[in-house]
Symmetry: C2
Subunit: 167 residues, 2 copies
C-alpha cells in the first residue's frame, strides 16, 4: 500500500530480519520470565541475581558487580535485593575493603531456592533456544550475539563471569 513518499525504511529482507529479531527480543525474555514466575515465583532478574551470587566465591559479590552481570541498573538491583532480603534469600553486608560498597550474600535458603529452580529454568532455555536450533546455528548465534553485544552494550559493563566458587 505504498504511497510514493513512504518513510524511509529497510528493504524487504532487512525488514523481515529486523522484525524477527524484534519479536525474538520481546517474546524470549517474556517466556523465560513466565516459566520462572509460574514454577518458582521469581522474576528472571531476581533469578539471575541469585544465580550469579550462587556462582560467586563465598556466594558474595558487590552490588555493582551483580548489577552488571545481570544486565541491570544499580537502582534496579537495590530494589530487587530489598525484595530478596525480605524473602530471606539474600542479605547485605558492608564491604570491609571499601566503606562505600555493599556486598550481597546468598543465604542458605537462597542457595536452596536456586538449586530448586535451576533445572526447570535450564530446561526452558534448552526448549526455547538450544534445542530448536542445529548445533551449527547455536554456534552462529553465539558469534552474532557476541558481536551485537559489543556494539550495543554500554562501555564498562562487560563482565567476565564469576571466579571459581569457594562455596
Amino acid at each position: 500500500m505504498g504511497t510514493v513518499d513512504e518513510p524511509r525504511w529497510l528493504n524487504a529482507e532487512e525488514q523481515d530480519t529486523w522484525l524477527a529479531v524484534l519479536a525474538m527480543a520481546v517474546w524470549l525474555p517474556d517466556a523465560i520470565d513466565a516459566q520462572l514466575q509460574r514454577d518458582a515465583g521469581v522474576s528472571h532478574f531476581e533469578y539471575q541475581v541469585m544465580a550469579m551470587l550462587s556462582m560467586s566465591p563465598e556466594r558474595t559479590r558487590r552490588m555493582s558487580e551483580v548489577a552488571a552481570l545481570a544486565n541491570g541498573s544499580l537502582t534496579r538491583l537495590s530494589r530487587t535485593v530489598d525484595r530478596l532480603e525480605k524473602r530471606g534469600w539474600v542479605t547485605r553486608r558492608p564491604d570491609p575493603d571499601d566503606g562505600r560498597a555493599t556486598l550481597a550474600v546468598l543465604t542458605d535458603t537462597g542457595w536452596e531456592k536456586v538449586v530448586a529452580t535451576a533445572p526447570g529454568h535450564v530446561a526452558e532455555v534448552r526448549r526455547l533456544v538450544l534445542d530448536p536450533l542445529t548445533r551449527t546455528q547455536v554456534r552462529q548465534l553465539h558469534e552474532i550475539a557476541t558481536r551485537i553485544r559489543q556494539v550495543v552494550q554500554p562501555e564498562g559493563s562487560f563482565p567476565t563471569l564469576p571466579a571459581p566458587g569457594t562455596a
Copy 2:
C-alpha cells in the same frame, strides 16, 4: 534431575551463548529506545505503533492488530494510544464493521512524525545490527530469530504485515 551441590546449569559453551543472547536481548532494545527517546521523544513501542499504522491501508488498523504487530498487549496499546492521541498523532474511531472494535488512525501530523523519525531509527538499526554482521550472518540471524520466534511467540499473534482484511 540429579542431586548436585551446584545448581544444574549449562556447559561452558552453552552458557556463553545464553549469556550473550541475554545481554543482546536486554541491551539492543535499550539502545533502540534510547535513540528514539533522544532524537524523537518517543518510545520504541510508540514508534512501532505509528510505523505499523503508516504502512497500513488508510493508515488505519484495528487496535488488536496493531498490538500484535507491535508485540504488545492490548492493554498496553490502549494506554499508548491514549498518549499518542494527546500528542495528536493518532485518533480512534469505531469500526463500522464490528461495534466492538476500535480503529486506530495515523493523523497527518503523525505521518509527518514517522517520516521525520524513520531515517534516524533505520540508521540505528543498521549501525547496531545490520552493519556489524556479515551478509551471511544477517541471513543466519534471520533464520535463527524466525525459528526461535516460532517456539516462543504465543499462538495467535503471528502477524503478517501488510493489508488488513479487505478480503
